[in-house]
């Protein structure tokens, strides 16, 4: 703990950097993934194609994926955020699609009976009901992104990984912990907050 206390400013700055990269990546991943998830429920033949690609992307080791992107995007935050977005698609697309598909057919029929158009059904019925499941996906990727973002320090994206790499370079365990402990804390905190949101988003009268 000594290092964290004596370098509180630095740890704080790096934590903010870490949070920024992760937050931007998660938001963009949702912006890209949710429409894609909706699309594959409309065009069924796309589902295996999109999910298959997202699955392959998900398995690519993070160091390798960062490395793939450097020639195109250079260093720093850009390749990092893109890599995190690509990783996240599996969870977001799948959960969105599953969320929409599991809405009871009877409910959709009832909505149609009330004269709703497809767009209205999506906005007013399916998406609100799918939201908790989408949120579960957001929670998964947030926790994952917080961890993966540490490695991005090596390609100039900053964040708490800086302390970990530097701690390894000068064999200084306290410094490694000063990087790792806030990362773990961020992950636990994000997991807790998003779990709260997940249950808050569950519409009254549905499930549990």
């Amino acid at each position: 703990m000594g290092y964290i206390l004596s370098h509180a400013d630095q740890v704080l700055v790096l934590t903010m950097e870490h949070l920024q990269v992760t937050a931007v990546a998660v938001i963009l991943a949702v912006v890209a993934g949710v429409p894609l998830g909706i699309l594959v429920t409309r065009l069924r033949w796309l589902y295996p194609l999109v999910l298959g690609t997202a699955g392959v992307l998900y398995t690519i080791p993070s160091l390798a994926l960062f490395a793939f992107l450097i020639p195109f995007l250079g260093l720093g935050v850009k390749p990092t955020i893109l890599a995190l977005i690509l990783y996240s698609q599996l969870s977001i697309v799948r959960n969105t699609a599953v969320g929409i598909n599991t809405v009871d057919r009877a409910i959709v029929e009832a909505a149609r009976g009330m004269g709703m158009t497809n767009g209205q059904i999506l906005r007013m019925v399916q998406l609100p009901l799918a939201l908790p499941i989408v949120m579960a996906g957001v929670r998964t990727i947030t926790v994952m992104d917080i961890g993966v973002a540490t490695i991005a320090a090596y390609i100039g994206a900053g964040g708490l990984g800086v302390l970990i790499f530097r701690g390894i370079a000068s064999l200084y365990p306290e410094q490694i912990i000063a990087g790792a402990a806030p990362v773990a804390l961020l992950a636990v905190l994000a997991d807790y907050l998003l779990a709260r949101m997940e249950s808050a988003l569950r519409p009254k009268g549905v499930g549990r």
Binding site: P61, A67, T150, I168, P173, D191
Partner: protein
């Protein structure tokens, strides 16, 4: 094409050797992880108190960056294969412990009751009913652990343990695209292949009666 495969074509033996190191590190990791995690996962289904502790610890452990685990083990174990293996096992056993526990606890109580009603003892219950039913979930954990190990093993190149990370780090340092790809492409292929193979096994291991 040269930008992607130039180095692989020029130095196939180097790539092959490092791929071999990568596979060995991953296999030994997964082997040891199963050997530790499976019994531990079973054990904690029998002791509720312990399960809180172990599962909580495992969840927390998964949030600690593997890079940090690697770094923290250096003062204890030095550099090379051993600390890399230790760091990988510490990380890879967590999903297997969790999935073993969840797999067994998630079995319908009525099934267990029925088995007990047939006069099965604890041991028989475990080997004849619980483990076979939990196996697909356990395998899902093994699959996660394997794919993750292949990924984390690239970082082992930072501590002298070799593997395909050697080429990735050298490629990054020298901005040598073909060298970088010679590390990244086989690593990605290994991960994708392992995922596919273990996914098949997961389905194959699901008992006939409960396949969806």
């Amino acid at each position: 094409m040269d930008a992607f495969f130039g180095y692989i074509v020029r130095e196939p033996m180097v790539v092959l050797q490092l791929t071999g190191q990568h596979i060995i590190l991953t296999l030994v990791t997964v082997g040891i992880s199963i050997a530790i995690a499976l019994p531990l996962g079973i054990l904690i289904t029998r002791y509720q108190r312990l399960s809180f502790l172990v599962i909580g610890f495992s969840n927390l452990g998964q949030t600690i960056p593997s890079l940090a685990i690697l770094g923290l083990l250096i003062p204890l174990l030095g550099i090379g294969f051993k600390p890399a293996l230790a760091a990988l096992v510490l990380r890879a056993m967590l999903p297997i412990v969790i999935n073993t526990y969840v797999g067994i606890v998630g079995i319908e109580p009525s099934v267990i009751e029925a088995a007990r009603g047939m006069g099965m003892r604890d041991r028989q219950l475990l080997t004849i009913v619980e483990l076979p039913l939990a196996l697909p979930v356990v395998m899902a954990g093994v699959r996660t652990a394997t794919v993750m190990s292949i990924s984390i093993a690239t970082l082992a190149a930072l501590i002298g343990a070799g593997g395909l990370g050697d080429l990735i780090f050298r490629g990054i340092a020298m901005v040598d695209g073909p060298m970088l790809m010679a590390g990244a492409i086989p690593t990605a292929l290994l991960a994708i292949l392992a995922d596919l193979l273990l996914g098949r096994m997961e389905i194959g291991l699901t008992p006939m009666g409960i396949r969806v």
